[in-house]
Amino acid sequence: MHLGGAELLFNGVKKHHVDLPSQSEPWDVKQLLVWIQRNLLRERPELFVQGDSVRPGILVLINDADWELMGELDYQLQDQDNVVFISTLHGG
Protein backbone atom coordinates (compact mmCIF):
# COMPACT_ATOMS: atom_id res chain seq x y z
CA MET A 1 0.00 0.00 0.00
CA HIS A 2 1.42 3.34 -0.99
CA LEU A 3 0.50 6.76 0.27
CA GLY A 4 1.12 9.84 -1.84
CA GLY A 5 1.13 12.82 0.46
CA ALA A 6 -1.06 11.19 3.05
CA GLU A 7 1.92 9.63 4.78
CA LEU A 8 1.82 12.38 7.39
CA LEU A 9 -1.00 10.48 9.00
CA PHE A 10 0.91 7.23 8.96
CA ASN A 11 4.06 8.23 10.76
CA GLY A 12 5.65 9.38 7.55
CA VAL A 13 5.92 5.87 6.18
CA LYS A 14 4.99 5.84 2.53
CA LYS A 15 4.99 2.17 1.68
CA HIS A 16 3.25 -0.42 3.77
CA HIS A 17 3.40 -4.11 3.13
CA VAL A 18 0.22 -5.46 4.54
CA ASP A 19 -0.78 -9.00 5.39
CA LEU A 20 -4.45 -9.14 6.08
CA PRO A 21 -5.68 -11.84 8.44
CA SER A 22 -7.56 -14.53 6.60
CA GLN A 23 -11.29 -14.69 6.92
CA SER A 24 -14.09 -16.64 5.31
CA GLU A 25 -15.23 -14.06 2.79
CA PRO A 26 -12.72 -12.28 0.61
CA TRP A 27 -11.65 -8.83 1.80
CA ASP A 28 -13.16 -5.87 0.04
CA VAL A 29 -11.96 -2.28 0.04
CA LYS A 30 -14.54 -1.20 2.59
CA GLN A 31 -13.15 -3.67 5.09
CA LEU A 32 -9.63 -2.71 4.18
CA LEU A 33 -10.38 0.90 5.12
CA VAL A 34 -11.71 -0.18 8.48
CA TRP A 35 -8.63 -2.31 9.01
CA ILE A 36 -6.34 0.60 8.07
CA GLN A 37 -8.13 2.92 10.41
CA ARG A 38 -7.77 0.48 13.24
CA ASN A 39 -4.22 -0.67 12.68
CA LEU A 40 -2.21 1.83 10.68
CA LEU A 41 -3.70 5.27 11.03
CA ARG A 42 -1.73 7.07 13.69
CA GLU A 43 -3.63 10.33 13.99
CA ARG A 44 -6.54 12.42 12.74
CA PRO A 45 -8.68 9.69 11.21
CA GLU A 46 -11.10 12.28 9.88
CA LEU A 47 -8.43 13.45 7.43
CA PHE A 48 -8.35 10.06 5.78
CA VAL A 49 -11.70 8.33 6.11
CA GLN A 50 -15.14 9.82 6.05
CA GLY A 51 -17.92 7.49 7.01
CA ASP A 52 -17.55 4.32 5.00
CA SER A 53 -15.27 5.67 2.38
CA VAL A 54 -12.18 7.79 1.97
CA ARG A 55 -12.40 11.49 2.43
CA PRO A 56 -13.27 13.37 -0.79
CA GLY A 57 -10.07 14.52 -2.38
CA ILE A 58 -8.17 11.29 -1.72
CA LEU A 59 -7.73 9.19 -4.82
CA VAL A 60 -7.53 5.44 -4.70
CA LEU A 61 -5.72 3.41 -7.31
CA ILE A 62 -5.84 -0.36 -7.34
CA ASN A 63 -3.03 -1.85 -9.40
CA ASP A 64 -2.56 1.52 -11.07
CA ALA A 65 -6.14 1.77 -12.20
CA ASP A 66 -8.90 4.02 -10.96
CA TRP A 67 -10.95 2.32 -8.30
CA GLU A 68 -14.10 3.66 -9.93
CA LEU A 69 -13.45 1.17 -12.69
CA MET A 70 -13.15 -1.65 -10.23
CA GLY A 71 -16.27 -1.07 -8.27
CA GLU A 72 -14.94 1.33 -5.62
CA LEU A 73 -15.67 0.03 -2.15
CA ASP A 74 -17.03 -3.29 -3.34
CA TYR A 75 -13.94 -4.41 -5.13
CA GLN A 76 -12.64 -7.65 -3.71
CA LEU A 77 -8.96 -7.65 -2.95
CA GLN A 78 -6.69 -10.26 -4.41
CA ASP A 79 -3.31 -11.46 -3.38
CA GLN A 80 -0.44 -9.06 -4.16
CA ASP A 81 -2.79 -6.23 -5.04
CA ASN A 82 -1.21 -2.80 -4.95
CA VAL A 83 -3.36 -0.07 -3.44
CA VAL A 84 -2.29 3.55 -3.70
CA PHE A 85 -3.87 6.47 -1.86
CA ILE A 86 -3.03 9.87 -3.28
CA SER A 87 -4.07 13.01 -1.49
CA THR A 88 -4.93 15.96 -3.72
CA LEU A 89 -5.78 18.22 -0.85
CA HIS A 90 -3.95 21.05 0.72
CA GLY A 91 -4.78 20.37 4.31
CA GLY A 92 -3.42 16.88 4.65
Binding site: L59, A65, V84, T88, H90
Partner: protein
Amino acid sequence: MCQVEEDYHEPLQRADPLSVSKKCVKCKEGTAAVVIRAGDAFCRVCFKEYFIHKFRAMLGKNRVIFPGEKVLLAVSGGASSCSMLRQVQEGLSQNAHKKLRFSPGIVFIDEGGAVGQAVEDRRRAAAELQAVFTATGLPFVTVPLEEVLDLPSSVLAAASLVASGTGAYKAAVGDFVRSGAAGCRTSLDPERRAPADVQESRTRSLQQLIGSAKTLTAREDLLSTLRQHLLVHTARSEGYSKVMLGDNCTRLAIKLLTSISLGRGAQLAQDTGFSDSRYGDILLVRPMRDYSAKEIAYYNRLFGVPSVFIPGLETKATDKSSIQRLTESFVTKLQADFPSTVSTIYRTSEKLQTACRSSSTADLCDRCLLCMCALDTAAENASAFKATLISEQLSQAQAAGDTSVVTPAPKEHESAAAIGKRCTSGAEDCGNAASGEGCCSSAKGAESSDLRSLLCYSCQLTIRDMSSVERLPHYILSEAQRRQRRSQMREEIGEFLLDAAD
Protein backbone atom coordinates in the same frame (compact mmCIF):
# COMPACT_ATOMS: atom_id res chain seq x y z
CA MET B 1 -39.96 27.10 -16.69
CA CYS B 2 -39.97 28.67 -13.29
CA GLN B 3 -43.49 29.28 -12.09
CA VAL B 4 -44.91 30.18 -8.76
CA GLU B 5 -46.74 26.97 -8.04
CA GLU B 6 -44.25 24.62 -9.60
CA ASP B 7 -42.83 21.89 -7.44
CA TYR B 8 -39.58 20.25 -8.22
CA HIS B 9 -40.09 16.57 -7.70
CA GLU B 10 -37.26 15.14 -9.66
CA PRO B 11 -34.26 14.33 -7.56
CA LEU B 12 -31.13 16.27 -8.36
CA GLN B 13 -29.02 14.71 -11.04
CA ARG B 14 -26.22 12.58 -9.69
CA ALA B 15 -23.38 10.99 -11.49
CA ASP B 16 -24.28 7.33 -11.86
CA PRO B 17 -21.68 4.98 -10.50
CA LEU B 18 -19.64 3.87 -13.44
CA SER B 19 -20.52 0.43 -14.59
CA VAL B 20 -17.52 -1.76 -14.85
CA SER B 21 -16.85 -1.09 -18.52
CA LYS B 22 -13.26 -1.84 -19.09
CA LYS B 23 -12.53 -0.49 -22.51
CA CYS B 24 -11.12 2.92 -23.26
CA VAL B 25 -13.77 5.18 -24.72
CA LYS B 26 -11.33 6.76 -27.12
CA CYS B 27 -9.43 3.97 -28.81
CA LYS B 28 -11.88 1.26 -27.85
CA GLU B 29 -9.01 -1.18 -27.53
CA GLY B 30 -6.94 -0.58 -24.45
CA THR B 31 -7.96 -1.44 -20.93
CA ALA B 32 -9.31 1.61 -19.19
CA ALA B 33 -7.12 2.92 -16.42
CA VAL B 34 -8.42 6.37 -15.53
CA VAL B 35 -11.84 7.92 -15.31
CA ILE B 36 -11.75 11.52 -16.44
CA ARG B 37 -14.63 13.86 -15.89
CA ALA B 38 -17.87 12.00 -15.44
CA GLY B 39 -17.73 8.65 -17.06
CA ASP B 40 -14.98 8.87 -19.67
CA ALA B 41 -12.59 6.01 -19.11
CA PHE B 42 -9.26 6.32 -20.87
CA CYS B 43 -6.48 3.81 -21.25
CA ARG B 44 -2.93 4.74 -20.36
CA VAL B 45 -1.81 5.63 -23.83
CA CYS B 46 -4.83 7.74 -24.67
CA PHE B 47 -4.60 9.42 -21.31
CA LYS B 48 -1.01 10.40 -21.88
CA GLU B 49 -1.84 11.81 -25.30
CA TYR B 50 -4.77 13.72 -23.90
CA PHE B 51 -2.67 15.14 -21.11
CA ILE B 52 0.17 16.28 -23.30
CA HIS B 53 -2.16 17.68 -25.91
CA LYS B 54 -3.93 19.81 -23.34
CA PHE B 55 -0.70 21.44 -22.32
CA ARG B 56 0.28 22.33 -25.87
CA ALA B 57 -3.21 23.51 -26.67
CA MET B 58 -3.22 25.77 -23.65
CA LEU B 59 0.03 27.40 -24.65
CA GLY B 60 -0.90 27.53 -28.29
CA LYS B 61 -4.33 29.01 -27.75
CA ASN B 62 -3.06 31.83 -25.57
CA ARG B 63 -0.20 33.08 -27.61
CA VAL B 64 1.68 34.89 -24.94
CA ILE B 65 4.89 32.90 -24.76
CA PHE B 66 7.10 33.95 -27.58
CA PRO B 67 9.73 31.66 -29.05
CA GLY B 68 13.15 32.08 -27.52
CA GLU B 69 11.70 33.86 -24.55
CA LYS B 70 13.01 33.20 -21.07
CA VAL B 71 10.34 31.71 -18.86
CA LEU B 72 10.67 30.99 -15.17
CA LEU B 73 8.89 27.91 -13.84
CA ALA B 74 7.74 28.30 -10.26
CA VAL B 75 7.98 24.84 -8.75
CA SER B 76 6.83 24.29 -5.21
CA GLY B 77 7.51 20.57 -5.16
CA GLY B 78 3.82 19.77 -5.29
CA ALA B 79 2.17 17.53 -7.83
CA SER B 80 0.94 20.23 -10.21
CA SER B 81 4.14 22.18 -10.52
CA CYS B 82 6.25 19.05 -10.93
CA SER B 83 3.85 17.88 -13.60
CA MET B 84 4.21 21.23 -15.32
CA LEU B 85 7.97 20.85 -15.17
CA ARG B 86 7.75 17.45 -16.78
CA GLN B 87 5.48 18.76 -19.55
CA VAL B 88 7.89 21.57 -20.31
CA GLN B 89 10.80 19.18 -20.30
CA GLU B 90 9.09 16.76 -22.66
CA GLY B 91 7.97 19.59 -24.85
CA LEU B 92 11.51 20.80 -25.27
CA SER B 93 12.95 17.42 -26.11
CA GLN B 94 14.13 16.91 -29.64
CA ASN B 95 11.66 14.30 -30.68
CA ALA B 96 8.60 16.21 -29.57
CA HIS B 97 6.00 16.92 -32.15
CA LYS B 98 6.01 20.69 -32.50
CA LYS B 99 8.76 21.34 -30.02
CA LEU B 100 8.28 24.07 -27.46
CA ARG B 101 10.54 26.97 -28.18
CA PHE B 102 11.19 28.96 -25.09
CA SER B 103 14.05 28.89 -22.59
CA PRO B 104 12.92 27.77 -19.18
CA GLY B 105 14.52 28.13 -15.79
CA ILE B 106 13.29 26.81 -12.48
CA VAL B 107 12.79 28.56 -9.17
CA PHE B 108 11.96 26.82 -5.93
CA ILE B 109 10.91 28.98 -3.02
CA ASP B 110 11.68 27.31 0.25
CA GLU B 111 8.93 28.27 2.67
CA GLY B 112 9.96 25.95 5.46
CA GLY B 113 10.95 28.88 7.63
CA ALA B 114 7.49 30.41 7.62
CA VAL B 115 5.85 27.13 8.47
CA GLY B 116 8.20 26.25 11.28
CA GLN B 117 9.86 23.31 9.59
CA ALA B 118 13.06 22.01 11.17
CA VAL B 119 16.29 22.84 9.40
CA GLU B 120 17.14 19.23 8.59
CA ASP B 121 13.74 18.68 7.04
CA ARG B 122 14.13 21.79 4.94
CA ARG B 123 17.54 20.72 3.81
CA ARG B 124 16.34 17.26 2.95
CA ALA B 125 13.37 18.50 0.95
CA ALA B 126 15.52 21.03 -0.88
CA ALA B 127 18.09 18.34 -1.69
CA GLU B 128 15.43 16.01 -3.04
CA LEU B 129 14.06 18.74 -5.24
CA GLN B 130 17.49 19.76 -6.41
CA ALA B 131 18.10 16.19 -7.50
CA VAL B 132 14.88 16.35 -9.50
CA PHE B 133 15.87 19.65 -11.08
CA THR B 134 19.36 18.49 -11.94
CA ALA B 135 17.88 15.52 -13.74
CA THR B 136 15.95 17.84 -16.02
CA GLY B 137 19.05 19.68 -17.10
CA LEU B 138 17.45 23.08 -16.75
CA PRO B 139 19.01 25.92 -14.79
CA PHE B 140 17.45 26.31 -11.38
CA VAL B 141 17.68 28.48 -8.32
CA THR B 142 16.56 27.82 -4.76
CA VAL B 143 15.37 30.87 -2.88
CA PRO B 144 14.49 30.74 0.80
CA LEU B 145 11.43 32.80 1.65
CA GLU B 146 13.50 34.70 4.21
CA GLU B 147 14.89 36.69 1.31
CA VAL B 148 11.60 38.51 1.09
CA LEU B 149 12.74 40.55 4.07
CA ASP B 150 15.47 42.08 1.93
CA LEU B 151 13.62 42.92 -1.22
CA PRO B 152 14.05 46.40 -2.68
CA SER B 153 10.89 48.49 -2.82
CA SER B 154 11.18 48.56 -6.59
CA VAL B 155 9.35 45.22 -6.50
CA LEU B 156 6.16 47.14 -5.84
CA ALA B 157 6.70 49.56 -8.67
CA ALA B 158 4.63 48.47 -11.62
CA ALA B 159 6.89 48.71 -14.59
CA SER B 160 5.21 49.79 -17.76
CA LEU B 161 3.34 47.08 -19.54
CA VAL B 162 4.99 45.70 -22.62
CA ALA B 163 2.01 45.95 -24.91
CA SER B 164 2.04 43.49 -27.74
CA GLY B 165 -0.69 43.07 -30.29
CA THR B 166 -1.72 39.86 -31.95
CA GLY B 167 0.49 40.48 -34.90
CA ALA B 168 3.52 40.53 -32.66
CA TYR B 169 3.32 36.80 -31.97
CA LYS B 170 3.51 35.80 -35.60
CA ALA B 171 6.30 38.26 -36.23
CA ALA B 172 8.23 36.87 -33.29
CA VAL B 173 7.83 33.33 -34.55
CA GLY B 174 9.04 34.39 -37.95
CA ASP B 175 12.08 36.10 -36.51
CA PHE B 176 12.91 33.12 -34.37
CA VAL B 177 12.75 30.68 -37.24
CA ARG B 178 14.81 32.90 -39.47
CA SER B 179 17.52 33.40 -36.90
CA GLY B 180 18.19 29.69 -36.92
CA ALA B 181 16.60 28.78 -33.62
CA ALA B 182 19.77 27.76 -31.89
CA GLY B 183 19.14 25.50 -28.94
CA CYS B 184 16.97 26.56 -26.05
CA ARG B 185 19.55 26.42 -23.30
CA THR B 186 20.22 29.49 -21.27
CA SER B 187 23.72 30.14 -20.09
CA LEU B 188 22.47 30.95 -16.63
CA ASP B 189 24.31 29.30 -13.80
CA PRO B 190 22.15 28.02 -11.04
CA GLU B 191 22.85 29.78 -7.78
CA ARG B 192 22.35 27.34 -5.05
CA ARG B 193 21.46 28.88 -1.77
CA ALA B 194 20.82 26.00 0.56
CA PRO B 195 18.43 26.66 3.45
CA ALA B 196 21.27 25.91 5.85
CA ASP B 197 22.76 29.25 4.87
CA VAL B 198 19.78 31.13 6.14
CA GLN B 199 20.45 32.76 9.45
CA GLU B 200 18.26 31.78 12.33
CA SER B 201 17.48 35.38 13.14
CA ARG B 202 15.97 35.90 9.71
CA THR B 203 13.89 32.78 10.01
CA ARG B 204 12.68 34.10 13.35
CA SER B 205 11.80 37.48 11.84
CA LEU B 206 9.87 35.75 9.12
CA GLN B 207 8.02 33.63 11.63
CA GLN B 208 7.18 36.69 13.68
CA LEU B 209 5.90 38.38 10.56
CA ILE B 210 3.66 35.48 9.69
CA GLY B 211 2.71 35.05 13.31
CA SER B 212 1.58 38.66 13.61
CA ALA B 213 -1.42 37.75 11.50
CA LYS B 214 -3.94 36.42 13.92
CA THR B 215 -6.09 34.28 11.71
CA LEU B 216 -4.99 31.45 9.46
CA THR B 217 -6.87 33.10 6.62
CA ALA B 218 -4.78 36.24 6.92
CA ARG B 219 -1.60 34.22 7.27
CA GLU B 220 -2.24 32.30 4.09
CA ASP B 221 -3.05 35.49 2.26
CA LEU B 222 0.06 37.22 3.53
CA LEU B 223 2.24 34.25 2.70
CA SER B 224 0.99 34.04 -0.84
CA THR B 225 1.52 37.78 -1.34
CA LEU B 226 5.10 37.56 -0.09
CA ARG B 227 5.73 34.50 -2.21
CA GLN B 228 4.50 36.28 -5.29
CA HIS B 229 6.66 39.33 -4.62
CA LEU B 230 9.68 37.11 -4.23
CA LEU B 231 8.88 35.28 -7.46
CA VAL B 232 8.55 38.50 -9.39
CA HIS B 233 11.75 39.85 -7.95
CA THR B 234 13.63 36.67 -8.83
CA ALA B 235 12.27 36.78 -12.36
CA ARG B 236 13.30 40.39 -12.77
CA SER B 237 16.76 39.98 -11.35
CA GLU B 238 17.51 36.86 -13.41
CA GLY B 239 16.19 38.40 -16.57
CA TYR B 240 13.04 36.37 -17.09
CA SER B 241 10.00 37.99 -18.59
CA LYS B 242 7.37 35.37 -17.83
CA VAL B 243 6.63 33.18 -14.84
CA MET B 244 4.70 29.93 -15.11
CA LEU B 245 2.65 28.96 -12.08
CA GLY B 246 1.40 25.46 -11.48
CA ASP B 247 -2.16 26.16 -10.35
CA ASN B 248 -4.52 23.42 -11.46
CA CYS B 249 -8.24 23.63 -12.18
CA THR B 250 -9.32 22.37 -8.79
CA ARG B 251 -7.04 24.75 -6.99
CA LEU B 252 -8.24 27.68 -9.09
CA ALA B 253 -11.90 26.83 -8.56
CA ILE B 254 -11.24 26.86 -4.83
CA LYS B 255 -9.29 30.08 -5.20
CA LEU B 256 -12.16 31.69 -7.06
CA LEU B 257 -14.67 31.00 -4.35
CA THR B 258 -12.19 31.92 -1.65
CA SER B 259 -11.38 35.20 -3.35
CA ILE B 260 -15.01 36.13 -3.44
CA SER B 261 -15.30 35.37 0.26
CA LEU B 262 -12.23 37.45 0.99
CA GLY B 263 -13.48 40.47 -0.88
CA ARG B 264 -11.25 40.05 -3.90
CA GLY B 265 -14.06 39.99 -6.39
CA ALA B 266 -12.62 42.86 -8.37
CA GLN B 267 -9.38 41.00 -8.93
CA LEU B 268 -10.83 37.63 -9.86
CA ALA B 269 -9.88 37.82 -13.49
CA GLN B 270 -6.24 38.32 -12.63
CA ASP B 271 -6.13 35.89 -9.74
CA THR B 272 -7.59 32.98 -11.66
CA GLY B 273 -7.13 33.75 -15.33
CA PHE B 274 -4.54 32.34 -17.63
CA SER B 275 -2.36 35.40 -17.70
CA ASP B 276 -1.86 37.95 -14.99
CA SER B 277 -0.37 41.24 -16.01
CA ARG B 278 -0.51 43.19 -12.78
CA TYR B 279 3.25 43.50 -12.51
CA GLY B 280 3.64 45.11 -15.87
CA ASP B 281 6.88 43.77 -17.19
CA ILE B 282 6.53 40.28 -15.72
CA LEU B 283 3.62 38.18 -16.93
CA LEU B 284 2.34 35.35 -14.76
CA VAL B 285 0.80 32.49 -16.69
CA ARG B 286 -1.02 29.40 -15.50
CA PRO B 287 -0.72 26.66 -18.11
CA MET B 288 -2.05 23.94 -15.81
CA ARG B 289 -5.39 25.59 -15.23
CA ASP B 290 -7.22 23.12 -17.41
CA TYR B 291 -6.16 20.04 -15.46
CA SER B 292 -8.09 18.76 -12.49
CA ALA B 293 -6.14 17.62 -9.48
CA LYS B 294 -7.16 14.06 -10.19
CA GLU B 295 -5.73 14.06 -13.69
CA ILE B 296 -2.45 15.44 -12.46
CA ALA B 297 -2.21 12.93 -9.63
CA TYR B 298 -2.88 10.05 -12.00
CA TYR B 299 -0.42 11.24 -14.58
CA ASN B 300 2.29 11.67 -11.98
CA ARG B 301 1.65 8.22 -10.62
CA LEU B 302 1.36 6.38 -13.92
CA PHE B 303 4.31 8.04 -15.59
CA GLY B 304 6.66 8.45 -12.72
CA VAL B 305 6.78 12.19 -12.24
CA PRO B 306 8.67 12.84 -9.03
CA SER B 307 7.28 15.29 -6.56
CA VAL B 308 8.26 16.19 -3.05
CA PHE B 309 5.68 16.77 -0.39
CA ILE B 310 6.44 19.81 1.71
CA PRO B 311 4.05 20.66 4.54
CA GLY B 312 2.44 24.07 4.33
CA LEU B 313 0.54 26.33 6.69
CA GLU B 314 -2.66 24.45 6.14
CA THR B 315 -1.39 20.91 6.43
CA LYS B 316 -3.55 18.95 8.85
CA ALA B 317 -5.60 22.03 9.60
CA THR B 318 -9.22 21.40 10.40
CA ASP B 319 -11.97 22.27 7.99
CA LYS B 320 -13.02 25.42 9.75
CA SER B 321 -9.63 26.87 10.53
CA SER B 322 -9.55 29.25 7.61
CA ILE B 323 -11.69 30.40 4.72
CA GLN B 324 -9.37 28.72 2.26
CA ARG B 325 -9.66 25.37 3.99
CA LEU B 326 -13.41 25.65 4.34
CA THR B 327 -13.84 26.42 0.66
CA GLU B 328 -11.53 23.56 -0.27
CA SER B 329 -13.50 21.09 1.76
CA PHE B 330 -16.76 22.44 0.34
CA VAL B 331 -15.64 22.14 -3.26
CA THR B 332 -14.03 18.72 -2.92
CA LYS B 333 -17.02 17.27 -1.15
CA LEU B 334 -19.39 18.68 -3.72
CA GLN B 335 -17.15 17.40 -6.48
CA ALA B 336 -17.33 13.89 -5.09
CA ASP B 337 -21.05 13.76 -5.66
CA PHE B 338 -21.35 16.10 -8.61
CA PRO B 339 -18.27 15.65 -10.78
CA SER B 340 -18.94 18.67 -12.93
CA THR B 341 -18.58 21.13 -10.04
CA VAL B 342 -14.99 22.09 -10.63
CA SER B 343 -15.30 22.39 -14.38
CA THR B 344 -18.40 24.58 -14.06
CA ILE B 345 -16.60 26.94 -11.74
CA TYR B 346 -13.64 26.91 -14.07
CA ARG B 347 -15.74 27.77 -17.09
CA THR B 348 -17.24 30.65 -15.18
CA SER B 349 -13.80 31.96 -14.33
CA GLU B 350 -12.83 31.86 -17.99
CA LYS B 351 -15.50 34.39 -18.76
CA LEU B 352 -14.29 36.93 -16.26
CA GLN B 353 -12.57 40.02 -17.45
CA THR B 354 -11.46 43.07 -15.56
CA ALA B 355 -13.21 46.26 -16.57
CA CYS B 356 -10.38 48.50 -17.63
CA ARG B 357 -10.89 51.65 -15.70
CA SER B 358 -7.60 53.33 -16.32
CA SER B 359 -4.63 52.58 -18.48
CA SER B 360 -2.07 50.15 -17.20
CA THR B 361 0.50 52.88 -16.88
CA ALA B 362 -1.65 54.63 -14.31
CA ASP B 363 -0.23 56.24 -11.22
CA LEU B 364 1.32 54.00 -8.69
CA CYS B 365 -1.16 55.35 -6.21
CA ASP B 366 -3.92 53.61 -8.09
CA ARG B 367 -2.56 50.18 -7.30
CA CYS B 368 -2.80 48.23 -4.10
CA LEU B 369 0.42 48.23 -2.12
CA LEU B 370 0.38 44.50 -1.45
CA CYS B 371 -1.36 42.73 -4.28
CA MET B 372 -0.59 45.22 -7.04
CA CYS B 373 -4.10 45.13 -8.46
CA ALA B 374 -6.10 48.23 -9.20
CA LEU B 375 -7.64 49.75 -6.11
CA ASP B 376 -11.31 49.04 -5.71
CA THR B 377 -11.94 51.21 -2.69
CA ALA B 378 -13.42 54.32 -4.24
CA ALA B 379 -16.24 54.74 -1.77
CA GLU B 380 -18.95 56.31 -3.84
CA ASN B 381 -21.92 57.59 -1.97
CA ALA B 382 -24.34 54.80 -2.58
CA SER B 383 -21.88 51.94 -2.62
CA ALA B 384 -21.82 49.02 -0.20
CA PHE B 385 -18.27 49.89 0.70
CA LYS B 386 -19.31 53.35 1.83
CA ALA B 387 -21.94 51.77 4.02
CA THR B 388 -19.34 49.55 5.71
CA LEU B 389 -17.13 52.55 6.37
CA ILE B 390 -19.97 54.53 7.88
CA SER B 391 -21.04 51.76 10.19
CA GLU B 392 -17.45 51.31 11.25
CA GLN B 393 -17.14 54.98 12.07
CA LEU B 394 -20.33 54.93 14.04
CA SER B 395 -19.39 51.91 16.08
CA GLN B 396 -15.97 53.38 16.84
CA ALA B 397 -17.43 56.75 17.80
CA GLN B 398 -19.74 55.05 20.29
CA ALA B 399 -17.01 52.88 21.75
CA ALA B 400 -14.59 55.77 22.16
CA GLY B 401 -17.10 57.72 24.20
CA ASP B 402 -16.57 61.45 24.17
CA THR B 403 -13.44 61.54 22.06
CA SER B 404 -13.61 62.76 18.52
CA VAL B 405 -14.22 60.50 15.59
CA VAL B 406 -10.53 60.16 14.95
CA THR B 407 -9.54 57.97 17.88
CA PRO B 408 -6.05 57.97 19.43
CA ALA B 409 -3.18 55.97 18.11
CA PRO B 410 -3.49 52.21 17.88
CA LYS B 411 -0.40 51.76 20.03
CA GLU B 412 -2.11 52.99 23.13
CA HIS B 413 -5.03 50.73 22.51
CA GLU B 414 -3.10 47.63 21.70
CA SER B 415 -4.33 46.01 24.83
CA ALA B 416 -7.93 46.88 24.12
CA ALA B 417 -10.07 43.97 23.23
CA ALA B 418 -11.58 45.34 20.07
CA ILE B 419 -9.54 44.58 17.05
CA GLY B 420 -10.88 47.51 15.13
CA LYS B 421 -9.70 50.32 17.36
CA ARG B 422 -7.68 52.16 14.85
CA CYS B 423 -7.90 55.47 13.11
CA THR B 424 -11.21 54.83 11.56
CA SER B 425 -11.74 57.70 9.25
CA GLY B 426 -12.54 56.55 5.79
CA ALA B 427 -10.09 56.18 3.02
CA GLU B 428 -10.14 59.80 2.09
CA ASP B 429 -9.33 61.09 5.54
CA CYS B 430 -6.30 58.99 6.20
CA GLY B 431 -4.14 61.53 4.46
CA ASN B 432 -4.90 64.02 7.21
CA ALA B 433 -4.26 61.55 9.93
CA ALA B 434 -0.89 60.80 8.46
CA SER B 435 0.17 64.41 8.55
CA GLY B 436 0.77 64.07 12.23
CA GLU B 437 -2.10 64.96 14.41
CA GLY B 438 -1.35 63.81 17.89
CA CYS B 439 -3.21 60.60 17.27
CA CYS B 440 -1.04 58.72 14.86
CA SER B 441 2.53 59.04 15.98
CA SER B 442 3.39 59.61 12.42
CA ALA B 443 7.10 60.06 12.18
CA LYS B 444 7.77 56.39 12.77
CA GLY B 445 6.73 53.55 10.53
CA ALA B 446 3.35 53.49 8.88
CA GLU B 447 0.42 52.62 11.07
CA SER B 448 -2.15 50.18 9.85
CA SER B 449 -4.57 53.07 9.41
CA ASP B 450 -2.18 54.80 7.05
CA LEU B 451 -1.67 51.67 5.06
CA ARG B 452 -5.37 51.18 4.57
CA SER B 453 -5.65 54.01 2.11
CA LEU B 454 -3.06 52.31 -0.04
CA LEU B 455 -4.66 48.89 -0.07
CA CYS B 456 -7.48 47.20 -1.88
CA TYR B 457 -10.41 45.96 0.15
CA SER B 458 -9.23 42.42 0.81
CA CYS B 459 -5.67 43.46 1.64
CA GLN B 460 -7.17 45.90 4.12
CA LEU B 461 -8.92 42.97 5.76
CA THR B 462 -5.68 41.05 5.93
CA ILE B 463 -3.83 43.96 7.50
CA ARG B 464 -6.64 44.41 9.95
CA ASP B 465 -6.04 40.90 11.17
CA MET B 466 -2.43 41.68 11.92
CA SER B 467 -1.51 42.70 15.40
CA SER B 468 1.23 45.01 14.26
CA VAL B 469 2.19 46.21 10.83
CA GLU B 470 5.71 47.06 11.88
CA ARG B 471 6.73 43.51 11.24
CA LEU B 472 6.05 43.89 7.57
CA PRO B 473 9.22 43.79 5.50
CA HIS B 474 11.01 47.04 5.06
CA TYR B 475 10.29 47.31 1.36
CA ILE B 476 6.55 47.40 1.96
CA LEU B 477 6.73 50.00 4.70
CA SER B 478 9.10 52.28 2.85
CA GLU B 479 7.06 52.09 -0.33
CA ALA B 480 3.97 52.93 1.71
CA GLN B 481 5.64 56.02 3.11
CA ARG B 482 6.81 57.05 -0.31
CA ARG B 483 3.33 56.80 -1.77
CA GLN B 484 1.83 58.71 1.09
CA ARG B 485 4.32 61.51 0.70
CA ARG B 486 3.57 61.68 -2.98
CA SER B 487 -0.15 61.80 -2.51
CA GLN B 488 0.24 64.48 0.14
CA MET B 489 2.38 66.46 -2.21
CA ARG B 490 -0.10 66.04 -4.98
CA GLU B 491 -2.86 67.31 -2.75
CA GLU B 492 -0.86 70.36 -1.83
CA ILE B 493 0.06 71.39 -5.32
CA GLY B 494 -3.00 69.92 -6.97
CA GLU B 495 -4.52 73.18 -8.02
CA PHE B 496 -1.34 74.28 -9.71
CA LEU B 497 -1.01 71.22 -11.89
CA LEU B 498 -2.02 71.43 -15.48
CA ASP B 499 -4.36 68.74 -16.69
CA ALA B 500 -3.39 66.87 -19.76
CA ALA B 501 -6.51 68.24 -21.36
CA ASP B 502 -5.40 71.85 -21.08
